[in-house]
């Protein structure tokens, strides 16, 4: 089954990957291993999951302002997400996506965290703000 969601372009570009979804904010310092792409924050619902090549769907960023370069480093190491979707993008994550050139969309209707499930195939056309979801 395919559904279309519409959101706001934060950083342009197009990408496609399997969704990794969480209801909890993410901090890219201490919360993510940028050499492997694994989520490491103790107590985080995604702990032990890998973001490499995924469409990472989360409400917003939190914590350290080091996060921008860490997104860039993860992408440079080949273990970054292929796209990101937020409810409301926070500045540190936005800047990371700008320099790492990761397509990013926010303010999605209907709510991306509700509409997208882990493992769904997600096509992100950030230029147009269009997200196409194929259920797993």
């Amino acid at each position: 089954m395919e559904k279309i969601l519409r959101g706001r372009k934060v950083v342009g570009g197009k990408s496609k990957g399997v969704a990794l979804v969480t209801t909890e904010p993410i901090c890219f310092l201490g919360g993510v291993d940028v050499k492997t792409g694994m989520i490491t924050e103790v107590g985080h619902p995604l702990k032990g999951k890998c973001m490499a090549g995924k469409v990472l769907v989360f409400p917003t960023g939190k914590g350290s302002t080091g996060g921008s370069y860490l997104i860039y480093e993860a992408v440079s190491n080949g273990v970054g997400p292929c796209a990101m979707i937020n409810r409301s993008v926070e500045q540190v994550t936005a800047i990371g996506c700008i320099i790492a050139e990761v397509p990013m969309v926010d303010s999605v209707n209907p709510d991306a965290i509700e509409a997208i499930k882990d493992g769904d195939l997600v096509e992100v056309n950030a230029d147009e703000g269009i997200i196409t979801v194929t259920s797993a």
Binding site: V10, V11, P25, L29, G30, G31, V34, T40, E41, V42, T60, G61, K62, G63, S64, T65, G66, G67, S68, Y69, L70, Y72, E73, V75, S76, N77, S88, V89, E90, Q91, V92, A94, I95, G96, I98, I99
Partner: protein
């Protein structure tokens, strides 16, 4: 669309070289995401991404490219902690590889005019913006302090946007640069009795996860110390993305509760009772057993007042032989500690001053493995939040006195 001045347009068009052009591109893109109308001038930058743990090889090359193409900072630019203590990295246990990469990154920032103070508390050592001053700061704890305690205006700058601001002297005008966005959202009535930075840290940790990126307003706090406010902000910015808080009757934009909320009604009113304080402290103690191998004080970096307290607590005492006690601070603060006689007492007890870096921004997981650390104790809610993910170490959380006792006995006892 943003309205740029003729000068800003020419910067964007590359007429003043690559570093300024690339910087303008980043700032314009950011401004468009957040609906800014124009750029505003800023008077200082505090640079996050000053550690290679954050910048990595990719970020270091990015900064080096800016420096290599004759980028020059046009405002006062202080650097956040790096990944090693330059004066004694080998003794502390950091690898030569980390030291070399950090040297490259620091050199690149210095070539552009950055002040290599490598501290998260620039406001203690010479960059102390006044109320209403527009600045572009990174480092989540310093942002919270500058916005809330000093009343300066900054958004949460990440490394690349802070670099862009330092090179151009401007940022897009949105968010906390606009007075109307600085009012409170959530009211927190503090009923618990707070004593010491560990209590303020625990409360901040609790409130940060509820506030997310909103502005919390605290009532019922009287006469907090600068260090307690420093820790409150650091904790709020760890469990959440809080960049601004108000304390009624204490911080400059909150002479009254009405002023803090700008005449609006709070979205939510919560009480912080003694039971919540106890719960918050328990959630920061992610440990089993009680043997500890390293005690860290100074996240954010210690003030001279805190170093004085540590010296008082360690007078005629000895840190247990297999335990390390780290006092993290800025270079000028250590010089002052020496003048005051604190350094002699702390070092005679077996404590170690660590400057230029911090446990969160240095490769501590690697160090912990190499030195076979088994558990960490700290009075910082921020460090207690990050350490389990960053160091993969069991972490104890308690007051300064509890932490010093742990260093002396090798055991953590509440």
């Amino acid at each position: 669309m943003m309205k740029l001045t003729v000068e800003e347009e020419s910067m964007l068009a590359g007429k003043r070289g690559y570093p300024i052009q690339k910087s303008m591109e980043i700032l314009v893109q950011l401004g468009e995401i957040y609906g800014a109308q124009k750029m505003i001038k800023i008077s200082s930058v505090h640079m996050p991404g000053a550690s290679v743990v954050v910048a990595g090889e990719a970020g270091t090359k990015f900064v080096e490219k800016m420096a290599g193409q004759q980028g020059q900072f046009c405002v006062l630019t202080t650097l956040n902690p790096g990944a090693v203590n330059f004066d004694a990295w080998r003794e502390t246990g950091y690898s030569e590889e980390t030291y070399r990469l950090q040297r490259r990154l620091t050199n690149a920032y210095e070539a552009m005019g950055g002040i290599a103070c490598h501290t998260c508390t620039p406001y203690f050592i010479g960059s102390c913006p006044r109320r209403g001053e527009h600045i572009a700061w990174g480092e989540s704890s310093a942002i919270a302090f500058a916005n809330s305690v000093l009343g300066a205006f900054t958004n949460r700058e990440g490394g690349p946007s802070a670099l862009a601001a330092a090179l151009t002297g401007c940022v897009p005008e949105y968010g906390y640069h606009l007075a109307e966005n600085r009012h409170g959202h959530i009211q927190i009535n503090v009923r618990a009795k707070l004593d010491g930075i560990d209590d303020f840290g625990a409360m901040g940790y609790w409130a940060g996860s509820l506030a997310g990126s909103k502005v919390p307003v605290f009532t019922g706090i009287s006469d907090p110390s600068t260090d307690e406010l420093k820790m409150l902000g650091a904790a709020l910015a760890s469990s959440g993305a809080v960049a601004l808080f108000h304390v009624v009757g204490v911080t400059p934009e909150a002479p009254t509760c009405e002023a803090a909320f700008g005449g609006r009604k709070p979205e939510q009113v919560l009480d912080f009772e003694a039971s919540q304080l106890a719960d918050a402290k328990r959630s920061l103690n992610k440990q089993d057993g009680q043997e500890i191998s390293v005690v860290c004080i100074g996240c954010p970096h210690t003030s001279i007042a805190e170093i004085g307290e540590i010296a008082l607590g360690l007078k005629d005492k000895k840190v247990k032989s297999r335990v390390e006690l780290w006092v993290l601070t800025a270079l000028p603060m250590r010089a002052l500690a020496e003048r005051c006689g604190y350094t002699k007492i702390i070092e005679a007890a077996g404590g170690r001053f660590v400057i230029d870096t911090c446990p969160i921004l240095s490769p501590m997981a690697e160090l912990a493995k190499k030195k076979q650390y088994t558990a960490l104790a700290t009075n910082s809610a921020k460090l207690a939040h990050y350490a389990p993910g960053q160091w993969a170490l069991p972490t104890y959380y308690g007051s300064l006195q509890t932490c010093l006792n742990a260093a002396i006995t090798g055991k953590f006892d509440q």
